[in-house]
């Protein structure tokens, strides 16, 4: 019950009550049953909309799942290993499986042709691209005795970290010694090819030169990045780890 009225309430209260009651009573043609039916209709419609929205979400999720399964590999690192990957050339660092047939190390590689400019046009990695995995291949380049020395696969996380570490490097490492050598000695005895899975089904490469004296650093074909230890440490393990090299011998911490 309302409290006792005072002042303006006493003066205007009855007028307001009268005005409200008069207006309320003036309403006619109300339709209770229609409103109940309309409420039920709206509920049904709301439920149908909810069901349709839920179905749409399920379809989208299903399509997304199928797309993930057959499309780009997940950039998220998984703990599942593929013991068959990388075993062809010894015990590599199998962080994560590479897609079979996509990035397995080829027995014969263009790097054998002695081109020190890096990967051919169209095969070098654009460092701005996201990568989803890495197969590293260490090759002996000695003329007449070329061969795969070691390999290892790395998961998306490590692969991306390697790319991120490389792309901030300057064109050359001024701390490394400068060599001038005869052409016969310029050719490196070995090098590592980093084969990145870019999710498009095409493997993109970075060549890592650390021996000889013709070229040094990370070569993408369009750019050369200086040879520094941080990215090397990430993949130079196991059979991918050289015993030395012209420039590696002058580099600390790899």
């Amino acid at each position: 019950m309302p409290e006792p009225e005072c002042g303006p309430e006493q003066e205007l209260g009855p007028k307001l009550a009268d005005a409200f009651q008069t207006q309320a009573d003036s309403l006619s043609g109300l339709r209770g049953r229609v409103m109940a039916a309309e409420a039920r209709r709206r509920i049904r419609k709301r439920r149908q909309t909810l069901v349709a929205a839920a179905a749409a979400v399920v379809v989208v999720v299903a399509i997304g799942g199928v797309w993930s399964a057959i499309g780009s590999p997940s950039p998220v690192a998984t703990s599942a290993g593929d013991s068959s990957t990388g075993e062809a050339a010894g015990a590599g660092t199998n962080d994560a499986p590479s897609a079979p047939g996509k990035s397995a190390c080829p027995e014969v590689h263009p790097i054998f042709q002695g081109d020190n400019g890096g990967p051919a046009a169209g095969t070098g990695l654009d460092l701005a691209m996201p990568v989803y995995g890495l197969q590293a291949c260490r090759y002996r380049l000695t003329t007449g005795a070329t061969m795969l020395l070691g390999s290892g696969s790395f998961n998306a996380s490590t692969a991306q970290q390697i790319v991120d570490d490389i792309k901030v490097l300057p064109e050359r490492n001024p701390d490394l010694p400068v060599f001038k050598c005869a052409p016969s000695m310029a050719q490196p005895s070995e090098a590592i090819v980093l084969r990145f899975d870019t999710g498009s089904g095409v493997v993109r490469e970075i060549w890592v030169q650390y021996d000889g004296c013709a070229a040094v650093g990370f070569l993408t074909g369009s750019r050369t990045y200086g040879l520094y230890a941080p990215p090397l440490k990430l993949f130079m393990t196991g059979t991918l780890r050289p015993t030395g090299g012209t420039y590696l011998d002058g580099l600390q911490g790899w």
């Binding site: 409290e3 003066e11 205007l12 307001l16 005005a19 207006q23 049953r33 409103m35 509920i43």
Partner: protein, 173 residues
């Protein structure tokens, strides 16, 4: 068994709405000042009530429960926004006091028109106070504010109404 209960629930809702819809629309009309808005607010409240009918029907006073839904719907931000989308002309005192004994009715009409100019919360507080005859504590609960705030809404509204009516009375004289 469950189907029978559901059927009983359905009947209850239909019966209840048939009995109470008129009162609810009248209340909403006094609250909103517009028949269309009133029916809209009541329909929305009934739709929500229908979806939760098991809970609403168990409340001590289902009518008060649904009225609270109507009030909340009326003062909700989205409904005010929707009303802003369709502006109405400035309310004016449409009926002048006449000397043939209908002055009281004209006053009631004037009060009604002036109430339409009040902010939503103030108008709701005034309606709950003088149409629903609620205490300030009950108004505070319905408007989700303190009792003192409810009192303040009513007093401010009365102050505005009084000053406007006095001004218009002076002009008419």
């Amino acid at each position: 068994m469950a189907a029978a209960e559901a059927e009983a629930g359905a009947i209850d809702f239909e019966v209840w709405v048939t009995e109470k819809a008129d009162a609810l629309v009248r209340f909403a009309y006094v609250l909103t000042g517009d028949v269309t808005l009133a029916e809209d607010a009541v329909q929305d409240a009934l739709t929500t009530a229908c979806a939760r009918w098991a809970k609403v029907s168990r409340a001590d006073d289902p009518e008060a429960y649904v009225k609270r839904m109507v009030v909340n719907a009326h003062i909700s931000w989205w409904r005010r926004f929707r009303r802003r989308e369709a502006p109405t002309p400035e309310p004016v005192r449409s009926t002048s006091p006449t000397p043939d004994g209908t002055a009281a009715r004209a006053d009631a009409e004037a009060v009604w028109e002036l109430c339409k100019t009040l902010p939503d919360r103030q108008r709701a507080a005034v309606v709950l106070r003088f149409y629903e005859d609620l205490s300030y504590a009950e108004i505070g609960v319905l408007l989700n504010c303190a009792e003192a705030t409810a009192r303040s809404h009513v007093h401010r509204a009365l102050g505005v109404l009084k000053s406007t009516l006095s001004k218009e009375g002076a002009e008419d004289a």
